[in-house]
C-alpha cells in the first residue's frame, strides 16, 4: 500500500509538486503520466525517499517514510529510467548485494530463478561495462524485484528493452501486482499505461488534474467520451492538437 497525502516539493520558490494526494492499494497498478516537467519524477523520488518533501506525508506498507525511513524503504523498490549500477560488481554480485541490503534470506535459492526470468543467466559473471543497455535495465529490474517489494515504483521501465523484453516486463509488473504489490508506473507510453494500469494519475505543473480509471476520468468530462487515453491526456494537459482537415 502506498499512501501520499498533500505532497509538496519546492525548489526555492518553484513548486515542482503541490497538493498531490493519492493511494495505491495492494494489487493495483497506477499509471503516472504528465508532460515533461509535470512533477512525475519528483513525485516518484519523494515516494522512494530520495528527496525530502517540503510538506505532506508518505506511507509505505503502513510505515511513515519520514519517521520510519528504514522500514518504509525495506518494503519498496524504485527502478529509475537510467539503470544505476556499480561498475565493479558482477551481475550475480549485484543481486547478492541487494539481498544483504533487504535481508532476502532465501536469496541463494531465488537468484538463479530471477536471472533466468530476465535472461541474465549467461551473464552471471559479467560486469556492467560488458552488458548492453537493455541488459543493464534488466539487471536493475532484477535488483528491484528480488526482495518482493510491497510497493514498486517504476520510472520508464521499458527504456532500452527489446520487444520480447518489453512483453516479459509487462507480465512481470502485472504479476507482481497480482501477488499483492502496490505499483506506480511512470511512463510517456500511454498505450502501456492503458494496457496494464488499473488507474491513471495525470499531473500537470505539479498538480493532479485527474485520478481514476480512464472511464471515471471520461465520465467526469462528457466532452471526452469515447476517446482514447492519449486524447484524454492531451486534452487534460492542454496540449490538444487541432484536428487534421
Amino acid at each position: 500500500m502506498i499512501e501520499v497525502d498533500g505532497l509538496q516539493k519546492l525548489y526555492g520558490d518553484f513548486p515542482a509538486v503541490q497538493g498531490v494526494s493519492f493511494t495505491v492499494g495492494p494489487g493495483e497498478v497506477v499509471g503516472l503520466v504528465g508532460p515533461n516537467g509535470a512533477g512525475k519524477t519528483t513525485t516518484l523520488r519523494s515516494i522512494a525517499g530520495i528527496i525530502i518533501p517540503t510538506q505532506g506525508q508518505i506511507r509505505i506498507a503502513g510505515h511513515d517514510l519520514a519517521r520510519e525511513p528504514v522500514s518504509a524503504k525495506a518494503a519498496l523498490a524504485f527502478i529509475p529510467d537510467e539503470p544505476h549500477l556499480f561498475e565493479y560488481l558482477t551481475v550475480e554480485e549485484h543481486l547478492r548485494f541487494v539481498a544483504r541490503l533487504y535481508r532476502v534470506h532465501d536469496a541463494e535459492a531465488r537468484i538463479p530463478g530471477v536471472l533466468e526470468e530476465l535472461e541474465l543467466s549467461g551473464k552471471r559473471t559479467a560486469l556492467p561495462g560488458e552488458l548492453s543497455r537493455g541488459m543493464k535495465q534488466k539487471l536493475a529490474i532484477a535488483c528491484g524485484l528480488l526482495h518482493h517489494p510491497q510497493a514498486l515504483l517504476l520510472d520508464e521501465p521499458l527504456t532500452g528493452l527489446d520487444p520480447a523484453g518489453i512483453r516479459r516486463m509487462k507480465r512481470t509488473i502485472v504479476g507482481h501486482a497480482h501477488s499483492g504489490s502496490a505499483v506506480i508506473l511512470s511512463s510517456h507510453l500511454l498505450h502501456l499505461i492503458e494496457e496494464i494500469c488499473s488507474r491513471v494519475l495525470i499531473l500537470r505543473r505539479g498538480r493532479v488534474v485527474a485520478f481514476g480509471t480512464v472511464s471515471d476520468i471520461v465520465a467526469d468530462r462528457p466532452e471526452l467520451s469515447g476517446r482514447r487515453l492519449e486524447d484524454v491526456f492531451l486534452a487534460l494537459v492542454g496540449q490538444e492538437e487541432e484536428p487534421e482537415r
Binding site: 519524477t41 554480485e93 539481498a99 544483504r100 536469496a107 560486469l127 543493464k136
Partner: protein, 574 residues
C-alpha cells in the same frame, strides 16, 4: 576551428564557476568560502621568506632536487600512468566533436587547450606559493617559467600516454609506429640505470655523513657527464625558476622554450592513422562511460575475476555491510591495487633476503623507501583511496533508496576505504620490517621494531578512519565544490591544488587528533611513575577511545546531513 574550441572551453569554464558560485546562497558554502579564503591568505600571502630556500639556491640544490623530482614524476607517469584518463574525452565532447568535421589533430589541439585552464589556475597557485621573492628573478618571470614547466610536463604526459596506449592496444605494431619514442625511452632508461649505479657509493657515503653532505654529494653526482645528459631536460625545465637575475633567466628560458616546442611537435604530430585508432579507442571508452553514467572522469582500470567462495556476501548480517563489501571489492578489483600488492610482496621478499644475506645497501634503500611511503600514505592516502562516499555520491539516488540510516551508510563507506588504506600501509611497514631484519645498527632493536609494527596495527585503522572521514565530510557537506568520482584530479598540472588540499587536510587531521593525543598522553604521564612503560597500554586505550568517540559523533552528524541532502539542490546528478 580553434575559435570553436576556445568558445567551448571558455563558456564551459565560466558557466561552471557561475554554477558553483550559486551555492553561496547556502550559509554552509559561505562559511567554507570564508574559511578557505582565510586559509589561502595564510598559506599564500602571510608567509615569510624561508632560510631553507636561500640555502637551497646558494647550495645549487634546487636545480638538482627539482630535476630529480621531475624525473621521478615523469618516470612514474611512464610506469604507472593512467593513459585512459589523459586521453579521455567527456561523453558530450565525444558526441559533438568526434562526429563533427574535425581532424584528429584538431581533437588533440582541443585537448591541449582544455588542459590550459587547469595549467593556468595551477600556475597562479604556484606563483603565489613561491611568492615573496623566495625564488627567481620576478613574479612575472616566475609565472612564465612555471607555465612553461607545467605545459611541458602536460605535453609529455599526453605524449607518453599515446605511446603507452599504442603499445597496450596494438602490441608489436605499436612498437613499429613508435620506434623513435621507444628508442629514446630505452636509451634514457639505460643511461639512468648506469648513472645510478655510478652514483650509489658516493650517495651512500654522503648519506652516512648527514643531510647536508648527502645533498652536496647529490649535486656533485649530478655533474657527472652521463648524469648531466640524463638530467638535462629536467634541469632545463627547472633552470628558469631558479634563475636569480633577468640575464640568467633569459639564458635559461631559450632551452626551456625549445623543449616545450619539441614536446608540442611530438604531441601534435601524433595525428597519424595510428593515433586515429587511439582516438577511436578513446571514443569507445567515453561511450561506455556515458552508458555507465559514472560522471565525466573515469576511474582506474578494472581487473575482473570471480570472487573466491569465502568472499561471497551472505544475505544475513549487518545491512550496511553490503556497502562495505561492495567498496572493498571495487578496491581489490582495480589493476592498480593488484600491481601494488604484487610489488609489495616482491619487494618484501627481496628486501628480507637481501637483509639476511648482509646486502644492507639494497635492503636499507627498500626499507627507507617503504617507511617513507607508509608515512606519506598517512597524509596522501585518504586522497588517493576514494572508494567511499566520494565515489558513490554520484549515485546518491540509489544510496538514498536503500533501507539504511545515513550514519550506517557513512560508516560503511568510510570503513571500506579505511581497511584498504590500512592494509596498504601495513604492507609497506612489513616490507620495511623485513628489510631491516638483518640490520644490527638500526636505531631500534628487533623487539622494539616488532612492538612498533604492532602499534601501527592498533593505531592506523582509527587514524585512517578519522582522515578519511574528513575527506568524506567535505564531499557530503560540499558536493558541488568537491571533486566526486573514484578518479582523483591528478597529474603535475593539478599538483598545486592537490598540495593545498593536503596542507588543509593535515591541519584538520591535526585538530582531530589534538584531544585524543592530549588525553592519551596525560594518561601515560599520570600512570608512568607507578607502572612505568606499561602506562602506554592505558594511554593507548584512552587515545583510541577518545578518537573513536570523536569519529562516532562525526559519523552520526554526517549521517544526518546525508539524509537531508537533496540531490538536485546539492548539484549532484539527478
Amino acid at each position: 576551428m580553434i575559435g570553436v574550441f576556445a568558445y567551448l572551453v571558455w563558456r564551459s569554464g565560466y558557466n561552471r564557476i557561475v554554477r558553483q558560485l550559486r551555492h553561496l546562497r547556502s550559509p554552509r558554502y559561505v562559511a567554507a568560502l570564508l574559511l578557505g579564503a582565510g586559509y589561502l591568505w595564510i598559506i599564500l600571502f602571510d608567509q615569510r621568506p624561508s632560510p631553507v630556500a636561500s640555502r637551497a639556491i646558494t647550495g645549487g640544490w634546487i636545480e638538482v632536487v627539482g630535476a630529480l623530482a621531475l624525473l621521478g614524476a615523469v618516470a612514474w607517469g611512464w610506469v604507472f600512468g593512467v593513459e585512459r584518463r589523459v586521453l579521455a574525452f567527456s561523453p558530450a565532447e565525444v558526441t559533438f566533436l568526434f562526429s563533427a568535421p574535425i581532424s584528429r589533430r584538431g581533437l588533440i589541439q582541443f585537448k591541449l587547450l582544455r588542459n590550459q585552464l587547469l595549467i593556468l589556475f595551477n600556475t597562479l597557485l604556484w606563483t603565489l606559493i613561491l611568492s615573496r621573492e623566495r625564488f627567481g628573478a620576478s613574479p612575472w618571470l616566475r609565472s612564465l617559467s612555471i607555465w612553461i614547466l607545467l605545459t611541458t610536463l602536460s605535453f609529455h604526459r599526453l605524449g607518453a600516454s599515446f605511446v603507452r596506449t599504442s603499445l597496450s592496444e596494438h602490441g608489436r605494431y605499436g612498437v613499429r609506429h613508435r620506434v623513435v619514442s621507444m628508442a629514446v625511452l630505452g636509451i634514457v632508461c639505460i643511461a639512468l640505470l648506469v648513472s645510478l649505479a655510478e652514483a650509489l657509493p658516493a650517495l651512500e657515503a654522503g648519506r652516512a655523513s648527514g643531510a647536508l653532505a648527502f645533498l652536496n654529494a647529490l649535486s656533485a653526482q649530478a655533474e657527472r657527464p652521463l648524469a648531466r645528459v640524463v638530467l638535462w631536460p629536467f634541469t632545463t625545465m627547472v633552470r628558469p625558476l631558479s634563475a636569480g637575475t633577468i640575464t640568467e633567466w633569459l639564458h635559461a628560458i631559450g632551452p626551456a622554450l625549445a623543449l616545450l616546442l619539441l614536446h608540442a611537435v611530438w604531441v601534435v604530430r601524433s595525428d597519424s592513422a595510428f593515433e586515429e585508432a587511439a582516438a577511436e579507442a578513446s571514443l569507445d571508452r567515453a561511450r561506455a562511460a556515458a552508458d555507465r553514467r559514472t560522471g565525466p572522469r573515469r576511474g582506474p582500470t578494472v581487473a575482473h575475476r570471480p570472487l573466491p567462495h569465502f568472499l561471497r556476501l551472505r544475505p544475513a548480517g549487518w545491512r550496511a555491510g553490503a556497502i562495505f563489501w561492495k567498496n572493498l571489492i571495487a578496491v581489490f578489483r582495480m589493476r592498480r591495487t593488484r600491481s601494488a600488492v604484487l610489488a609489495v610482496v616482491v619487494a618484501g621478499a627481496v628486501a628480507a633476503v637481501s637483509s639476511m644475506r648482509g646486502q644492507s645497501t639494497l635492503a636499507d634503500i627498500a626499507g627507507w623507501l617503504s617507511l617513507t611511503w607508509a608515512g606519506v600514505m598517512l597524509i596522501v592516502g585518504p586522497q588517493w583511496v576514494r572508494n567511499d562516499l566520494r565515489g558513490d555520491l554520484t549515485k546518491l539516488d540509489l544510496l538514498r533508496s536503500y533501507p539504511l540510516r545515513g550514519s550506517s551508510i557513512v560508516q560503511a563507506e568510510v570503513s571500506a576505504s579505511t581497511l584498504a588504506l590500512t592494509l596498504m600501509q601495513l604492507g609497506l611497514l612489513l616490507v620495511a620490517y623485513l628489510a631491516f631484519l638483518g640490520n644490527d645498527e638500526f636505531r631500534f632493536d628487533l623487539p622494539e621494531r616488532t612492538l612498533l609494527l604492532g602499534a601501527a596495527v592498533v593505531y592506523l585503522p582509527l587514524i585512517n578512519f578519522a582522515g578519511l572521514l574528513i575527506h568524506n565530510a567535505a564531499a557530503v557537506l560540499y558536493p558541488a565544490w568537491v571533486h566526486l568520482g573514484v578518479g582523483r584530479p591528478g597529474g603535475v598540472e593539478a599538483l598545486g591544488q592537490n598540495m593545498l588540499m593536503i596542507i588543509a587536510f593535515t591541519i584538520l587531521l591535526g585538530i582531530t587528533l589534538v584531544i585524543p593525543v592530549t588525553l592519551g598522553g596525560a594518561t601515560v604521564a599520570m600512570l608512568h611513575p607507578w607502572i612505568r612503560n606499561a602506562a602506554l597500554i592505558p594511554g593507548t586505550l584512552v587515545l583510541l577511545a577518545t578518537l573513536g568517540a570523536e569519529a562516532w559523533l562525526i559519523v552520526n552528524w554526517l549521517g544526518r546531513v546525508f539524509e537531508r541532502t537533496d540531490p538536485g539542490s546539492a548539484g549532484l546528478p539527478a
